[in-house]
Amino acid sequence: MLGRIFLYLVSKGRIFFGVLFLAPVLSQFLNYNKIENIMGIPTLIPCLFVGFLWGLYATIKGRWF
């Protein structure tokens, strides 16, 4: 049972990672470099989009690159 939970989280973790971690870090990295908006939209929104898509890609492909 525990083993299955572990493996499930590992298998779906990439999307969570993309949205909950990668996206805000990316957004804060852009802010750190004085980029507050992208085409008038706060950086967090496009970063969430990128994080989700990259996480989805990694889930399907099994790796990030």
Binding site: L2, G3, I5, F6, L7, L9, V10, G13, R14, F16, F17, L20, F21, P24, V25, S27, Q28, F29, Y32, A58, G62, R63, W64, F65
Partner: protein, 286 residues
């Protein structure tokens, strides 16, 4: 006659090795304490902006690279044995030294013991995933494929049988992973994304690859031979003993895991004639 010579050699090896076993590994204990203190100190310093991000990253990277080996000694109960009243101290070092790497101690100990029992076995050795054709290929596999695949001993966990000990191993692995990501995500959403990335995320990714390269790939390459005297090699690395984290002498560790890491070079020099007689793999004139 051959049998007598064989026994003689085994006895000689045992007697020499015994000189290096049983002393309290103060060097490794000091290493653990300083490393962990420095790493934890980075948190308040970085979060309050008292040190720049690139310094935070560099110091954290060094600490994270150095965090595995004190735990490795604990996996072999080199600080205190299971029946000792100080075994709690062994476990304390084992668990806490791995915090910068955020990997589960119990799982590492289980996989490491299996690695010792089945070194270079394509199915039974959990470290066989680090195998590569050459140095360049090893960089790609250990820094990118294995890290990107997020498959730290996934096959090992999948094949664990139901049992109290194994369930605890899985539970602690789960707890380590969930705790790590929960802490990171909380700090990121509090606005400290770059700080935690420099302290705990990027250094960890690099260090996991580096540990795989130095501890698993390099001393066992090309991972084709089995047997006590042939499954691990001694080798002279261009980057030296410190940057290979002492793994040039990894053959000593496989023959006598109770010898602490810092005594492996001396033990190697003392045992070298026997290793040569045993036809061990001693590459590049170590």
């Amino acid at each position: 006659m051959v049998l007598i010579l064989e026994m003689d050699l085994t006895e000689k090896e045992r007697l020499i090795a015994r000189q290096f076993i049983g002393k309290t590994p103060w060097f490794m204990i000091t290493w653990w304490a300083i490393n962990l203190f420095v790493w934890f100190s980075l948190w308040p310093l970085a979060l309050t902006g008292q040190i720049p991000l690139y310094i935070t990253f560099l110091i954290s990277l060094i600490c994270t690279l150095l965090s595995y080996l004190p735990s490795h000694e604990a996996q072999h109960e080199n600080y205190a044995r299971k029946n000792s009243s100080l075994f709690w101290f062994n476990e304390l070092i084992g668990y806490t030294s791995l915090i910068p790497l955020a990997v589960p101690y119990r799982l590492l100990r289980a996989t490491h013991m299996q690695h010792h029992s089945h070194t270079n076995d394509p199915i039974m050795d959990p470290d066989y995933l680090t195998k590569a054709k050459n140095f360049k290929n090893a960089i790609w596999i250990n820094f990118f494929i294995n890290t990107s695949g997020n498959n730290l001993y996934k096959d090992f966990v999948e094949n664990l049988e139901d049992g109290q000990e194994n369930n605890r191993t899985i539970f602690e692995s789960l707890l380590t992973n969930i705790s790590y990501w929960t802490i990171l995500i909380i700090f990121v959403w509090l606005g400290f994304g770059l700080e935690v990335a420099c302290i705990w995320w990027i250094p960890r990714l690099i260090a996991l690859g580096y540990v795989r390269m130095t501890l698993s790939w390099a001393p066992h390459h090309p991972m084709e031979e089995k047997g006590r005297y042939r499954n691990t090699r001694g080798f002279k690395a261009k980057i030296g003993t410190i940057l290979t984290m002492g793994m040039e002498y990894h053959i000593i560790h496989h023959l006598h895991p109770s010898i602490p890491l810092n005594l492996n070079p001396a033990a190697y020099r003392a045992l070298k004639p026997i290793l040569m007689e045993r036809n061990c793999r001693l590459d590049k004139n170590l």
